[in-house]
Structure formats: structure tokens, C-alpha cells
Symmetry: C2
Subunit: 307 residues, 2 copies
């Protein structure tokens, strides 16, 4: 019988689950709303149920489930299987790996959603031909997943906080307690807020993007400020890390050439002698986190997936 692992991407809104085979292919996908309003324990119980259901689904398909990988957004200490903080779930210092392993028949690996997404894009997607990848996730927040020399860099759970690089010293207050962070200019909420501030009109970030594309002056200004903030922080990352590919994902990544083209231009303006990265769209879409959770589970079994 063929082997597989269970893969779960636990988000604040929905849980994406699936089975991932030896080659990294995602089989039998499922998506359920996160039972967030029912408290910490409810989400953990739901997580156990989703994994157990997936184990059953594997068996029904004559697959042997060997392990489970779970990706969570927040500050995640992969090594110890602990979520340090996951503000979208209201979690604080929770030993999620241990909790699951006590209730599930297979070994469990815990990871960070953007980092495992980066790893999936490196292994199977837009970064599959290089060693050094920066995966930029721009949405509710802004963060980066770093694959350096084919290894995920975690920094004890604290790496990849590109959204908190300061690009406007003394600028807007950020939720982190600092001012002028990338997130205060380039997150989805910051873009909508800034547009409302300039125009007096509250519209969605997607609509700001659409108006900017149609040549709307204020929308183009707001969009340009966001792109410039991202380019400034990415230029620092290029100086420090020299990624070969920058993959722009998350909600804003879905805007395609409306973000890729100006970001490529602005970043290029910031660089001189540095190794110039390609700036590209993701190939795995919003399944990168789920597939990455599967790769993590395979790694837990000491098997690396990269075809």
C-alpha cells in the first residue's frame, strides 16, 4: 500500500487539510471553517478531529498515513512543537505538538504557515530550481519565509518578520509597539486605511488595487507607497541574504502583475552590485501552506521531498 502524510494549514478563518504523497502531491483536499469563537480548546479539539478524519480518509483510499504536519500562523517554535503566540487564534504558549501526539496515532510536526509555504514553493513551486528563496506573504500581515541553501530558517520561531522592518521612521503606530513598520504601510488593512484617509471613502484593498490599475490618482499613490515600503524592506533582505528568487504570495500576491511589475521596478532601483533576485508569482497558490505542512510531516520521518 502507498504511503502518505496528513497535512493541515490552520488559519484564523478556515482549516485546509489534505493528504500528501511521497512526491508532494496533495490528494483529497478539504476545507472547514475554524471554530475560533469557541475558544482555544475548541480549536485544538477541532484540529484533532480534522486529522483523525484525514487518517480515516487515507485508510479508505488504501493509503497508509505515517505522520501529520500542522502549519499555524504566529510565532511558532518548530523544534519544540510550541505555538508561542498566534494572535488570530488567541493562542499563547501552547504545546500544540504534544497535545496532538497524545491524541493521534501518528507522529506530529508543527510549523509556521508562511515558512512551510516558502518551503513548499522552494521544493515544488516557483523556487524549485534554486537554493535561496524569500517567500513574501502580504495580506492581513506582512511576513517572509526564508529557505537558505535548501533549509528553512526559523530563528527559534522569530525569523521572517519583514513586516516589522521600519521603513518610515517615526511613522504610523504599529500593533507591535513600534512606528513606521512595513505593515503600517503595505498590509491589506493599511492600504485600505490610507486610501480612506486621503479620499474619505472606505473601499476594500482589492478595489484600491483595481482603481490604481485603472489610473485612479489617489489609489495609485497609496498603492505606490505600499510597493515602495515592500521594495525598501526587500532591498535590505537582498543585501543581507541574496535570495535568488522572491516569491510574492498572500492576498496581495493574488493581485498578480499589479504588484509584481512595480515591485520588480522599485526593488531594482534599490540595487547596484547585489545578486539580483527574480521577483515572481507563487505556483502553489493558497495551498502552499497545506502542502508545506505535508513536507514537514515527511521531514519528521527523515524523508525530504523535492522531486
Amino acid at each position: 500500500m502507498a504511503e502518505c502524510v496528513v497535512a493541515v494549514d490552520l488559519g484564523g478563518t478556515s482549516i485546509k487539510a489534505g493528504l500528501v504523497d511521497r512526491r508532494g502531491t496533495l490528494l483529497h483536499r478539504r476545507r472547514v471553517p475554524t471554530a475560533r469563537e469557541d475558544g482555544d480548546e475548541a480549536v485544538l479539539r477541532q484540529l484533532v478531529r480534522v486529522v483523525t478524519d484525514m487518517i480515516d480518509a487515507a485508510t479508505e483510499r488504501d493509503l497508509v498515513p505515517l505522520a501529520a504536519g500542522v502549519a499555524v500562523l504566529g510565532i511558532v517554535d518548530e523544534r519544540h512543537g510550541r505555538v508561542i503566540t498566534a494572535s488570530n487564534l488567541g493562542w499563547r504558549d501552547l504545546p500544540v505538538g504534544e497535545y496532538l501526539e497524545q491524541r493521534i496515532a501518528v507522529p506530529v510536526a508543527l510549523g509556521h504557515d508562511v515558512r512551510v509555504g516558502a518551503w513548499a514553493e522552494w521544493a515544488l513551486g516557483a523556487g524549485r530550481d534554486v537554493a535561496d528563496v524569500l517567500f513574501l506573504a502580504v495580506g492581513t500581515g506582512v511576513s517572509a519565509g526564508l529557505v537558505l541553501d535548501g533549509r528553512l530558517h526559523s530563528g527559534g520561531g522569530y525569523a521572517g518578520e519583514l513586516g516589522h522592518v521600519v521603513v518610515a521612521p517615526g511613522g504610523r503606530a504599529c500593533g507591535c509597539g513600534n512606528r513606521g513598520c512595513v505593515e503600517t504601510v503595505a498590509s491589506a488593512a493599511a492600504i485600505a486605511d490610507r486610501y480612506a484617509e486621503l479620499s474619505g471613502e472606505s473601499i476594500s484593498t482589492a478595489e484600491v488595487a483595481a482603481r490604481a490599475a485603472r489610473g485612479g490618482r489617489l489609489a495609485a499613490q497609496v498603492w505606490g507607497e505600499a510597493v515602495e515600503a515592500l521594495a525598501t524592506a526587500l532591498a535590505a533582505a537582498v543585501n543581507l541574504l541574496a535570495p535568488e528568487v522572491i516569491i510574492v504570495g498572500g492576498g496581495l500576491g493574488g493581485a498578480g502583475s499589479a504588484v509584481l511589475d512595480p515591485l520588480r521596478d522599485r526593488l531594482s532601483e534599490h540595487l547596484t552590485f547585489q545578486r539580483r533576485p527574480r521577483v515572481v508569482a507563487p505556483e502553489l497558490g493558497d495551498l502552499a501552506g497545506c502542502i508545506g505542512a505535508g513536507l514537514l510531516a515527511w521531514q519528521r520521518l527523515d524523508r525530504q521531498v523535492r522531486p
Copy 2:
């Protein structure tokens, strides 16, 4: 007979050479001036001579030299043993590894001086109890060596360019073609230049540091600007990489608490939720590059040194 490797740190001014044993101890040190004014080929021939002399010295001491490691300042592609550019030596795209291997009886590994210095501090010095280290070298230039999860990150030779993170947009012109890079504010030359600009008096960087320590107003201002530039770029690095220890080396590192204390304070001001690194002095002094070259040679033989 005991085994060793030959270690060479090739600088623009001097060549430091030695033998490094299995535990990373530096034996039989030597220092000679670099024959730079005689051209590319002369320095390469000198390098062959230094390594050959060290091999003889090992044999005289009943040591078996197994490999040689050479550290060079510039953009160094370790994997292919090539120096892409080494401006202090006037080198451009030189296959130094191959050149040496054709003339020396042992395998040769080529490395970057700051990166191997970082690695030596991680393995044997101020970073020996942690996984993630940023080694900051501040002197003629400003650059960083990154050890992440116990592995040197090279980025094809382009990683660690902290000196070219822009901290003063539109600021002074930098040698790299950009403006407002860290190096335009915090390199030794930039500090001396800025002091001369403000005071009309040309003194050395060390003298600026001394006057700042004695409470000289202009010197303290210039020193403060330099520290703030370093802290700003380090804050970006902390967000992206979450190093546990930042080791401040190079010429300015030699200034000890005059740079460490204010740098620690300024960096702390830039951080909120991030993992806070210790900011410390190096333990290997100006021998980190030479010892690191030895570790590189041991790695070439697939033997990792970390006691």
C-alpha cells in the same frame, strides 16, 4: 602523527597564516605584508609560497597537513572556489581555488574572511553556545557574516552586505553606486570624514572615538550617527533572521564598550516583540578569519570542528 590544516587569511595589508589542529587551536602563527603593489599574479604566487612554507612547518613539527583554507575579503563564491571581486587586491573573477590546487599538494577551500570569521566565533568564540549568529565587521567597510542553524549562509558569495542596507535615503554617495548606505555613515573612513566636515579637523577614527568617550560634542555626535546607522540595519537583520548573538568585530569592534554599550541601547530601542540578541565583543580578536579559514579546510575534509 597528529593531523592539521593550513589556514590563511589574505588581507589587503597583511597575510596571516597558521596551522589549525582538530580542535580548532591555532598553532605556529605567521604574518607577512601582502605583495599587493606587484599585481594579481604576484599575490597569487605569494599565497602559494605562504601555504607551501606552512606545509613545511607542519612537517617539521611532526604534523600531517591535510588541507588548506584561504579566506579573502570581497565577493567570494565558496562553492566554485572563485573570487568574483576583491577590490582591496584588485582581483576580478579569479579561480583562486583551482590555481592553488594545481600548485599545492593538498585540497584547498576558499572562503570569505568575514563569513569564516563569523563561523570561527560561532564554533569556538563568542557564539559557541547558540545556533544563530550575526558577526558584524566594522572597519574600512561594513559587512556581516551569518551563521544560521549552525551553517554559514553565503548566498552565492553575495550575502552579508549589511554595509549596503540604506539607512539615510538620498544621503551620501556610496562606492557601490547607491546613496545613504550604512557604509557612508559608519565605516571608519565615513566617521573620520564626517568629523572633518563638521569640525574642519582631520583626525583618525580612533581619535574620534576617544574624543567622543571624553565627551567631545562633535565627536559624540558623529559617533552617535554611526552607531544609529548600525543599529538601524541590525534591527532589520533581527527582524529577518532573529540571531541570538550579535558579535561586533573589525576595527571599530576593537573600540569595545565605546561601541558595544551605545549599540546595545540603540538596537534595543528599535525592538519590541522580536527575539532580543545579546550584543557582545568577539573572543578571537583579529585571528577569527585565520582560524575560520582552518575550519573551512577541515570542512573540505568533511570534518566539522566545534568542541
